[in-house]
C-alpha cells in the first residue's frame, strides 16, 4: 500500500513532469480551441494597429479573422509569441524588422504558424502628419525577404509601382498613388478564383513588386495579383523633395512587364503558409477594406474578397466554405460560358433563318443590375470567334434607337447623338455563347433592346449582318442586385473622394453647386477622371452608373488636374 508521503512524491513528480512536457506541445491551436491570430503592434515599426478603427487601422481585418471563429490578440515582437499562434498578422511595418524581432517571428513560423504580411515600398511618405518620415521598410536583401524567398519562394523587391499617369505631385501622398491591379489569371489560385471570374480589380495605394518562384525545395508559391500597366521604379530619389529623379523606366534597372503585387506560399517542411501583399493599404480600414457608410457594403469588392479568402486559406477553412460575393450582388463572369446566368431574364427567341449556323441567332437573353446591362446570345452552333455583335438600345420609347453598340474581341464602341466613343469598362467574350456587359451610364436604365445582330468582324461594318433578331424591342428586366465593380478600372486617371469636412460629398450634374445632386459619394470612393472645367475647379468623373462633376477640393486625383482634358458641361 502506498504511504501518504510516497503518494505526495508521486504527485509532485507528476506535476514536474507535466510542467516539463507542457511547453513541448507543438504550435497550432490545441484541439477544440479556436485558432489564435496575433496582430503585431509595434510603435517602432509603426505597424498598422488593430486598436485603430480609423482609416489606417486594421480592425476590419480583425473582424474578418473573427468571422471565421478565430481568437485575436495583439503583441509586440519584443517577447516570444505564443506557441499556439495559428496566424501572425504584420501590416505596414514602416521600418525594417530588427534581427531579434525577425528571429521571434521566424521561430514561430518554424513551428507551423502562418503569416499575413502587407508591406509598403520604401521611400513613399505617408499622407498622415504623424508619419512624415519616409517609409524605410525591409529591402530585397533584408532578412525577412531572404527567409520568405528561401522558404516560401516569395521575395520583396526594392520597387515602387508607378502607374502611367503618376507624377511627382501624385506620389507625394498615399492618397494619390492608387491604381488597380488584377487577380492572377495565368494560373489562378482558389483564393482569387472569384476575382478572376468577375474581373474584380484590387485597389492599391503605393505598392511594391514581388518575385514569386512557384517551385522550390519543400515549398510552392503562387502569384495572386499582377499589373501590366506601369513599371517598378527602383530609384527612391523619385521621392526627393528637391530635384527628384524623373519618373521614367530605366531598362535593366527598373522592373517592367508583368509585375506581381501579391502572392502566397507554403512550406511543406515547416507546415507553414504565408500571404504577402506588396501594399499595406489593401487590408486597411480606410482603403481596401473601406465600406459605404450608408449601405455598409464594401467599397472595393476585389480587396474584400481577396482578403476574406486569403484569411480563410491561412486559417485552413475548407474551400467550400470560402466566401464569394454575398446575396445581392451579380455573380456573372463574362467568359462565353452561360452556367452562371440567372433566371428571369429577357428571352428573345429567333428562328433558324440563316444557313451559317455559327452566326444564326437562336436566343437572346438580357438583364441589368444597378451598374451594367448583361447580354447573352446563343447561336445554332458555337459562335465564330471573329463574330461582331451589334445592338441598339432605345430609352425614350419613340421607336428610335438612342445608342448603338458594336462589340468584338478587339474593342467595344458606342455611338449616340454625341458621337462615337469606346467603352473600356465594357466586356465581351465568345465561347459556347456570346456574352457582353455594358455600363448603364451609356445604355441608360430601363431601356429596350432593339435589333441584335451578328456579323463577321472582318467584313465592312456598313455591310449587312449575317443574322439579326426579328422581334420587336423588348424591355430588359432589372435584377435587384448590385454590380460588384463600381468603378471603371481601366488604367487611366482616377480620383478618390477625400473630404476633411464631411464623410460624403455630392456628385453634381453640372460643375456648380446649384445643379442637381446625382449621388452622394463617401470618402475613399474611387472613380475615373475624364475631364475638367477650364479653371480646374471641377472634375468630371464617372463609373459604371453615372457621369457627373466633383469639386476638385474634395477629390484626390492621381494626375495633375490640369492635365485632364477640358470638357464642356
Amino acid at each position: 500500500m502506498m504511504s501518504g508521503q510516497m503518494l505526495l512524491r508521486s504527485l509532485a513528480a507528476l506535476g514536474v513532469a507535466f510542467l516539463l512536457i507542457a511547453p513541448l506541445v507543438p504550435a497550432r491551436a490545441q484541439e477544440g480551441q479556436p485558432p489564435l491570430v496575433v496582430f503585431i503592434e509595434d510603435e517602432q515599426l509603426q505597424t498598422s494597429s488593430v486598436l485603430d478603427s480609423g482609416p489606417d487601422g486594421v480592425t476590419r481585418l480583425e473582424q474578418i479573422f473573427q468571422s471565421y471563429g478565430a481568437r485575436t490578440r495583439w503583441l509586440t515582437l519584443s517577447d516570444p509569441l505564443p506557441r499556439d499562434t495559428a496566424v501572425i498578422v504584420l501590416v505596414r511595418p514602416l521600418r525594417a524588422l530588427p534581427a531579434d524581432q525577425l528571429a521571434r517571428l521566424w521561430v514561430q513560423l518554424t513551428r507551423g504558424s502562418h503569416l499575413l504580411l502587407a508591406i509598403d515600398p520604401s521611400g513613399l511618405t505617408s499622407a498622415r502628419p504623424d508619419r512624415s518620415l519616409a517609409a524605410n521598410t525591409d529591402k530585397a536583401n533584408s532578412g525577412l525577404s531572404i527567409l520568405l524567398d528561401r522558404y516560401y519562394g516569395i521575395r520583396l523587391e526594392d520597387t515602387f509601382l508607378v502607374a502611367p499617369w503618376f507624377t511627382h505631385g501624385s506620389i507625394t501622398s498615399q492618397l494619390t498613388t492608387f491604381s488597380y491591379v488584377h487577380a492572377e489569371d495565368f494560373a489562378t489560385h482558389p483564393v482569387t478564383e472569384p476575382l478572376v471570374a468577375l474581373r474584380l480589380p484590387v485597389l492599391v495605394w503605393g505598392a511594391r513588386t514581388l518575385t514569386v518562384e512557384p517551385l522550390g525545395l519543400g515549398s510552392h508559391a503562387a502569384p495572386l495579383l499582377y499589373t501590366l500597366s506601369g513599371y517598378g521604379e527602383t530609384n527612391t530619389k523619385v521621392f526627393a523633395a528637391t530635384e527628384p529623379a524623373p519618373l521614367e523606366v530605366n531598362l535593366g534597372q527598373d522592373r517592367v512587364g508583368r509585375l506581381l503585387i501579391g502572392a502566397l506560399g507554403e512550406n511543406t517542411h515547416l507546415d507553414s503558409r504565408v500571404v504577402v501583399f506588396g501594399d499595406s493599404e489593401i487590408v486597411q480600414n480606410g482603403y481596401g477594406l473601406d465600406i459605404n457608410s450608408r449601405t455598409q457594403a464594401p467599397l472595393h469588392w476585389g480587396n474584400r474578397l481577396l482578403t476574406e479568402r486569403a484569411v480563410a486559406w491561412l486559417l485552413g477553412v475548407p474551400q467550400e466554405e470560402w466566401p464569394g460575393l454575398p446575396e445581392g450582388y451579380t455573380w456573372l463572369a463574362v467568359d462565353g460560358e452561360s452556367e452562371d446566368w440567372p433566371e428571369n431574364t429577357l428571352e428573345l427567341e429567333d428562328p433558324s433563318d440563316t444557313p451559317i449556323a455559327r452566326y444564326d441567332i437562336q436566343r437572346v437573353s438580357a438583364f441589368q443590375d444597378n451598374g451594367y446591362l448583361y447580354l447573352r446570345v446563343e447561336t445554332a452552333q458555337p459562335p465564330a470567334s471573329v463574330v461582331r455583335l451589334t445592338l441598339g438600345i432605345e430609352n425614350t420609347f419613340d421607336g428610335i434607337t438612342d445608342v448603338t453598340f458594336a462589340l468584338d474581341e478587339g474593342q467595344i464602341v458606342a455611338q449616340d447623338s454625341t458621337g462615337m466613343f469606346s467603352l473600356p469598362d465594357g466586356a465581351f467574350a465568345v465561347g459556347d455563347v456570346i456574352e457582353a456587359r455594358l455600363p448603364l451610364r451609356v445604355t441608360g436604365e430601363g431601356g429596350l433592346v432593339s435589333a441584335v445582330c451578328l456579323a463577321d468582324r472582318r467584313t465592312d461594318p456598313s455591310s449587312a449582318p449575317v443574322d439579326c433578331t426579328g422581334q420587336p424591342p423588348a424591355i430588359v428586366p432589372v435584377a435587384r442586385t448590385q454590380a460588384p465593380v463600381e468603378t471603371w478600372h481601366a488604367p487611366m486617371p482616377l480620383v478618390t473622394v477625400y473630404s476633411t469636412r464631411a464623410e460624403a460629398v455630392n456628385l453634381r450634374a453640372q460643375p456648380n453647386t446649384d445643379s442637381a445632386v446625382l449621388d452622394v459619394l463617401v470618402n475613399g470612393r474611387t472613380l475615373a477622371a475624364v475631364g475638367r472645367t477650364e479653371s480646374g475647379e471641377w472634375i468630371q468623373v464617372q463609373n459604371a452608373e453615372v457621369t457627373g462633376w466633383l469639386a476638385a477640393f474634395v477629390a484626390r486625383a492621381n494626375v495633375e488636374v490640369q492635365t485632364l482634358p477640358v470638357v464642356a458641361p
Partner: protein, 368 residues
C-alpha cells in the same frame, strides 16, 4: 666469451630499460586513454559554422581550430561544416561557432534562434570589441538576454599592470572654440588582458573531473541573470576579483591610455568568462565563452613543441571537451584524457605579466 656475452646482454637490458625510462610515461597513458575514450562522442553530429569568419576546423595555423576538431573527431563525433543557406540540419546535435568575426545577418539570427528555441545546442565563443560581431544590445545577444538571461558585454576583461608614461588623448575641441592645449604625459597602467584563472564552478557538469587553470587571451565579460526561470543560466568560470571590463578598448589601443570609469566600465569583481544555459523544457543548451582564442591552436590549444600533443594549457583542452560532451548530453571526457608534459616554449607567461598587444589575437608562439 661467455662473460662478454653476459655483459653485452646486461648492457642491452640497461639500454632498453634506460630508453624505456626516458620515454615520458604519460604519453602512453594519454594515447591509451584517448583511444579508450574515442567512442565517447561517437555518433554525434557536430556542425561548425565558418562563413562568418569563425576559427576554422581545417585551419592548422595559430588562428585555427584544427586541434579541437581533431580531438573531437578522435572521440568519435561526425564533423560537418554548416551551410547557412539551408539552416541548421534537423539531425545536428551541436553547432559550434568559434568566434564569428562578422555579425550574423538578420536571417541568420532568425535561423539560429529558431534552432535554439526548438531544442538546439550551441557552443559559442564570442570575442570582445573591437570585433563587431555579436554586439550586446542587438541581434542574437539581445534575444539571449531577453529570453535566457545571458549575453556577452561590450567590454574587454582586464586588470591594471605596470605604470608607464602615456600622453593622454587630445581633447575634442568644441565648435568655434580654440583647440585645447595638449595634456602632459601621465603615469598610466598598462592593461593585462591575457591571464589565467582557477575560479571555476565545480558544481556544473562541465567542470566534472576538471583540475588546473584556464587561460584567456583577451576576453569579454558575460552578463548573467541567474534568477530562476525556464532557461537556467549558470556561470561556470570567473576571473579573479581584480579584473574589470574595459568598455573603451579602442582608445587604449590607439593611445595606450586607459582609466577605470565607474558606471561605464564593467564593475571590478569576479566577472563571468564562461556560462552555461539549459532549458529543460525545450532541451536547449548553450555554452558561451567570451574569448575565441580560448580554443584556437595558438591560444588555449597551443602546444610545445609545436604540432605535438603536449598542450601548454591542458585545462582549456579538457574544459572544451567537457563542454562539448555536456552540450551533446554525453559523459564527461576530461577525466579520461591526459597529455604529455609540454616542453620549453616562447609563449608569454600569463598573469600578471603585462601584454599590451592588440586584441583579440594572442601573441603567436615561435614556430607556429
Amino acid at each position: 666469451m661467455r662473460k662478454r656475452r653476459l655483459l653485452a646482454l646486461n648492457a642491452c637490458v640497461l639500454i632498453v630499460a634506460l630508453t624505456a625510462l626516458s620515454i615520458p610515461p604519460r604519453a602512453n597513458v594519454a594515447a591509451e586513454k584517448l583511444w579508450q575514450g574515442s567512442s565517447r562522442l561517437g555518433g554525434y553530429q557536430i556542425y561548425f559554422s565558418e562563413s562568418l569568419g569563425e576559427a576554422s576546423r581545417f585551419d592548422r595555423s595559430a588562428k585555427g581550430l584544427s586541434r579541437l576538431a581533431g580531438l573531437v573527431d578522435l572521440l568519435g563525433a561526425d564533423l560537418y561544416t554548416l551551410e547557412w543557406r539551408t539552416g541548421v540540419p534537423a539531425d545536428a546535435d551541436l553547432l559550434v561557432m568559434a568566434g564569428p568575426a562578422n555579425d550574423l545577418t538578420a536571417d541568420q539570427v532568425a535561423w539560429l534562434w529558431a534552432y535554439l528555441q526548438n531544442g538546439g545546442r550551441l557552443l559559442l565563443l564570442a570575442d570582445p570589441p573591437p570585433t563587431k560581431a555579436l554586439p550586446a544590445t542587438s541581434g542574437l545577444f539581445q534575444l539571449m538576454w531577453d529570453d535566457m538571461g545571458l549575453r556577452g558585454r561590450n567590454d574587454v576583461i582586464a586588470t591594471e599592470g605596470e605604470l608607464r608614461p602615456v600622453v593622454p588623448p587630445p581633447a575634442q575641441a568644441a565648435r568655434d572654440q580654440p583647440t585645447p592645449t595638449p595634456l602632459p604625459p601621465a603615469e598610466i597602467p598598462a592593461l593585462v588582458m591575457n591571464f589565467t584563472t582557477t575560479t571555476i564552478n565545480a558544481f556544473h557538469p562541465i567542470a566534472t573531473g576538471f583540475e588546473g587553470e584556464l587561460a584567456f587571451f583577451g576576453a569579454r565579460s558575460l552578463e548573467v541573470d541567474a534568477a530562476p526561470r525556464e532557461s537556467q543560466v549558470t556561470p561556470v568560470v570567473y576571473t579573479e576579483s581584480s579584473f574589470y571590463g574595459e568598455s573603451d578598448i579602442a582608445t587604449y589601443q590607439q593611445f595606450q591610455y586607459v582609466e577605470y570609469n565607474i558606471g561605464k566600465d564593467t564593475t571590478r569583481g569576479m566577472l563571468p568568462l564562461v556560462a552555461a544555459m539549459e532549458n529543460i523544457a525545450s532541451g536547449t543548451r548553450i555554452v558561451l565563452i567570451g574569448d575565441r582564442e580560448f580554443a584556437t591552436n595558438g591560444g588555449g590549444f597551443e602546444t610545445s613543441p609545436p604540432y605535438s600533443g603536449a598542450f601548454l594549457h591542458p585545462g582549456n583542452v579538457r574544459f572544451m571537451l567537457n563542454a562539448i560532451a555536456w552540450l551533446v548530453d554525453a559523459e564527461p571526457v576530461a577525466g579520461e584524457v591526459s597529455f604529455p608534459e609540454p616542453g620549453p616554449t616562447a609563449t608569454p607567461t600569463l598573469t600578471p605579466t603585462v601584454t599590451p598587444t592588440p586584441l583579440p589575437s594572442p601573441t603567436p608562439t615561435a614556430g607556429q
